[in-house]
């Protein structure tokens, strides 16, 4: 078993190593019983194809039965390069490994950003997979990590520099409270009431794709399958219908409050609390009540 990790203190890397240990069990159950953990030394410029070549070199040395990486942007990218070089199938974002017999392995993996699960057969002499975030709990990596040294000479795609993007206020991904608006907000100006409540709660503003497509908010505010995935203490969804692709981004919220005049809206099936009503009157009333409670 060979696990590629981003770094020892990276939570998803730790999860991947836990997954690797549990993968095929002891040798008498078809596993090779050992887990090698490899990484690329910090400070090495990121060059996906070249890093993948280094992983392939290591695979050729020890011929592991299973090769895995965390289901992060880089984990998925690197194993896809490895799979392309070795002409093997790759199962991305697996939640479970059901076993392997002959040259067929059974895996479970996520689709639609987590809204659907798939059981798949993976055919090949070696099983390549990435581990979906939170498929298993993380634990510190206790085995020695081998460092690979990719050969960057001649690599066409190499990171030249990292540019910081200036962000104002609380970041959407880390905010304890997110107040989100959907098509029901009606306009860019309509977000004033959402912003006011978010500010009062020390939270961030989020939105649905209907809103970004209309140009009312930037894509960096979008919650969902193709936006940001968040897990705040409280998510307040105003004027959002609850499409599966939106819920893929906020189902990790500890508590969810929905405000919508349509009592049949599917958001209520995923909510802990609901207010049936027009956000344009409900949200300002909550802000006013909050100021009153604080004695302002």
């Amino acid at each position: 078993m060979l696990a590629f990790i981003e770094s020892t203190d990276h939570e998803l890397s730790q999860q991947a190593v836990v997954f690797a240990r549990g993968c095929l069990g002891p040798p008498d159950e078809g596993g090779d019983g050992t887990v090698s953990v490899v990484a690329v030394a910090d400070g090495t410029p990121y060059a996906p194809a070249a890093w993948a070549q280094a992983i392939v070199g290591r695979i050729r040395e020890s011929a592991p039965v299973v090769v895995l990486a965390p289901g992060t942007d880089r984990g998925n990218e690197l194993l896809a390069h490895v799979a392309a070089i070795l002409d093997l199938p790759l199962a991305a974002n697996c939640t479970d490994l059901g076993g392997r017999g002959g040259e067929v392995a059974t895996v479970s993996r996520v689709r639609w950003g987590g809204s659907l699960l798939e059981v798949a057969h993976v055919h090949g002499s070696r099983l390549l997979l990435t581990v979906a975030p939170h498929a298993v709990p993380a634990a510190p990596i206790e085995v020695p990590v081998e460092l690979l040294t990719p050969d960057l000479a001649g690599a066409a795609a190499v990171v030249r520099e990292r540019v910081e993007v200036s962000t104002a206020g609380v970041s959407l991904a880390d905010a304890p409270v997110v107040v989100s608006g959907g098509r029901g907000v009606g306009s860019a100006e309509g977000f004033a009431v959402i912003e006011e409540l978010a500010a009062l709660l020390g939270g961030a503003v989020g939105c649905s794709r209907a809103v970004t497509s209309a140009g009312w908010r930037p894509h960096s505010d979008q919650v969902g399958q193709t936006g940001t995935k968040i897990s705040p203490e409280l998510y307040i969804a105003c004027g959002i219908s609850g499409a599966t692709q939106h819920m893929a981004g906020c189902k990790g919220a500890k508590k969810l409050l929905a405000i919508n005049p349509d009592a049949e809206a599917s958001i209520f099936a995923s909510a802990d609390y609901g207010v049936i009503g027009d956000l344009h009157t409900v949200v300002p009333a909550i802000s006013a009540e909050l100021l009153k409670a604080r004695g302002a």
């Binding site: 798949a120 066409a156 409270v177 193709t226 609901g274 909550i286």
Partner: protein, 254 residues
Amino acid sequence: MNVLVCVKRVPLTGGRIVLTDDERAISTKHLGFTISPHEECGAEEAVRIVEQHGGSSTVLTLGPPEAEEQLRDVMAIGVDRAIHLVTDGDEWDPQATAAAIVAAVRAEAAAPDLIVFGNESADAGNYQVPIRVAHALGRPCVTGVQAIALEDGGGTVRLEQEVPSGARDVYVVPLPAVVSVKEGLNLPRYPSVPGRLRAKRKPVQFSTPPRPEPRLELVRLAVPPGSGRQVTVLGHGPEAAPAVVGLLAELGLV
């Protein structure tokens, strides 16, 4: 500058996913179809590049006959022509998909300078077709791209890739190249009525490649267990505000 953008037809599910009886697909009886938002941004970028630098744009899909609808949608925003690799409706695995796309690219009279993909398909989310295509064609590949700028008179392209902290890694790669893009790259335009009419007459080239045996083989799908949440209605209209603030206090947020 010739730009090729690859898109995949997927069902537009609403609030709940219902599976077919054999549990191998989403029941689409009452659903419309679309492409991934990432791919919409890819198509918009293809149109912008050709508007600025000249050349021609092409959209490609591998999918059932009905996927012509998605090709026309993409041509309605300004893409010039389409390639339709027609299937019988069964999903192809990523290796087979990439191989069919590579064959179609090799058959082009003028090889595309830039091939644009979505970062991941909306339904399968395999995260690999673009990388497999790039590898087979011997081209550099950058994924998760949120900014594209041609430089050097079109000889190279500067690409920005978002990293989890919100910062961006910058690559400069020579053309021809392969990129996969994420939503946020641009704000796709809506098709105009004349755009839709023009799209009806734009050329689509059809072929039916044979489907190889899948090596990543879908066995069955399942809807994950529900959120387990039970909604408590706090009230109707603005009169619910005190109850909401009571809840906020309970959560320690007042």
